[in-house]
């Protein structure tokens, strides 16, 4: 059955505290941190971007399992911050894991759910028998205008899932999507920062789609929230996923292991997939995972996943790559000046 053959995450080492960002803009950091449920966010090193993050995540996935790179027939990378407007991130990932040249590749963009869209495409290719393995990556060096609400959470990081049919560590029982044209958040061509509809990003956008896709999934599978061990929801902040979980009937115990946002921030296309990686880091055979992503614009992809015995077998070595909690623990806190330099906000002569 189609499922996750391996997975890997990557989070850059650098962090800035939400309070430090608030200090620069004369805002109340303690209040903002508490309001958002986010205390720190990850930022890239000077020589890191969405391509390097995607490669590191994909290599972490390759390290956990013996996979012949020649059997990888597709690489898809979802992101809002592809370094090139024209020239795919996915080809560099393919080259860096040795999967080129007999593979197809493309970059995806659907705000924060481009990574889970890549998982769905990969599932289609694997299920139809067109490819043996497909790599789906969700990664971002998230953009947020200085001083805007987004700046407190827009973070860097990503995760990769290798999708295949044979001996998956977790079977994907079903996926479904809920999609409409909802202008809650966008970035126009050639603009460095996205704009958003403020409060409009909540009820008619995030909640309508996350709840819509999640309810469809529960109905289709004939399950109730208590049938799942873990649940992961898109995490633009620490409040929305908790609220969505409670509206659907999931408990805090079910969502806490996958709630990476508190000390990571919102890694946009990477967010749900890093959350899923954190759950797979601790999951046991038989555990059932519910995941719903959200991408502005707007859509949600829902997944019903069952962890198999393979996760604890000789075929898979979870310790061969760092866990999300280990990546979060390896950190260096910087101030706003260093953050501005790392994010390219310091204008230099060319």
């Amino acid at each position: 059955m189609v499922g996750i053959i391996s997975y890997g995450a990557y989070i850059p080492r650098y962090r800035i505290k939400v309070e430090e960002i608030a200090r620069v803009w004369g805002a109340n950091g303690t209040e903002i941190s508490r309001g958002l449920g986010v205390f720190e966010k990850a930022l890239p090193d000077m020589d890191e971007d969405t391509i390097t993050i995607s490669v590191e995540a994909a290599r972490a996935a390759m390290a956990r399992r013996v996979i012949n790179p020649a059997d990888i027939g597709a690489v898809y990378v979802g992101s809002e911050s592809h370094p090139y407007a024209v020239k795919p991130t996915a080809v560099t990932v393919g080259e860096a894991i040795g999967a080129t040249p007999v593979m197809t590749a493309a970059d995806y963009e659907f705000a924060c759910k481009a990574g889970t869209a890549a998982i769905q495409t990969s599932m289609g290719l694997v299920k139809s028998g067109m490819v043996t393995y497909s790599v789906a990556v969700g990664a971002d060096v998230a953009q947020g205008e200085p001083g805007d609400a987004l700046e407190y959470t827009a973070a860097a990081g990503g995760a990769a899932m290798i999708i295949g049919n044979d001996d998956p560590i977790a079977e994907i029982n079903h996926t479904c999507s809920f999609t409409t044209d909802t202008p809650d958040f966008w970035r126009r061509e050639n603009k460095p920062y996205p704009r958003h509809g403020g409060r409009f990003t909540g009820e008619p956008a995030y909640f309508k789609h996350v709840i819509g896709a999640s309810k469809m999934m529960l109905e289709k599978m004939g399950t109730k929230p208590s049938d799942y061990t873990y649940a992961v929801f898109h995490q633009p902040n620490g409040k929305f996923p908790v609220q969505a979980a409670s509206m659907l009937g999931f408990t805090m115990e079910q969502i806490k292991p996958g709630l990476a946002v508190t000390y990571l921030g919102n890694t946009y296309s990477g967010a749900s997939m890093v959350g899923l990686s954190a759950v797979l880091d601790i999951a046991k055979p038989g555990d059932r995972i519910f995941m719903t992503s959200y991408g502005s614009g707007s859509g949600s992809d829902s997944f019903d996943i069952t962890v198999t015995d393979v996760i604890n077998s000789d075929l898979f070595n979870r310790d061969a790559a760092p866990s999300v909690s280990a990546l979060l623990a390896d950190k260096k806190i910087v101030d706003y000046a260093v953050y501005a330099k790392h994010k390219g906000k310091v204008v230099m002569m060319e």
Binding site: D47, E56, Y84, T92, E350
Partner: protein
Amino acid sequence: MSVARFWRKQQNRYNLIGTRCTTCGKYFYPPRGFCPDCRREGKIVDHQFKGTGKVVTYSIIRSSSGNFKLLTPYVLAIIELDEGTRLTSHLVCDIDQVYIGMPVRRVFRKLGEDGSSGAIFYGTKFVPA
């Protein structure tokens, strides 16, 4: 750097592909097409290095230019790979963290770019293991 010049060495830079002489067992990075010891007897084949090694020596760069200007201060190190050959690389770590003999591993990073509209060059750097 011209696009073609970088592209020709892309596999070497991305995946640490070097060469090995199957006659004497010596490894080469950057790759050599000819073994300086075995000469005509040598047989050269491609070899992908594991990407782990240790610091042989290093220098801390405090003043730089071009693509490296914003990276200062940074560590430039001679690294001996586990297979035995040595290469020079940027070592990404705090400058007070580095020491001779420090175990390191490869990472994928941006090596530079040809201005804001030119090509971006990626490849291997090292971090503490």
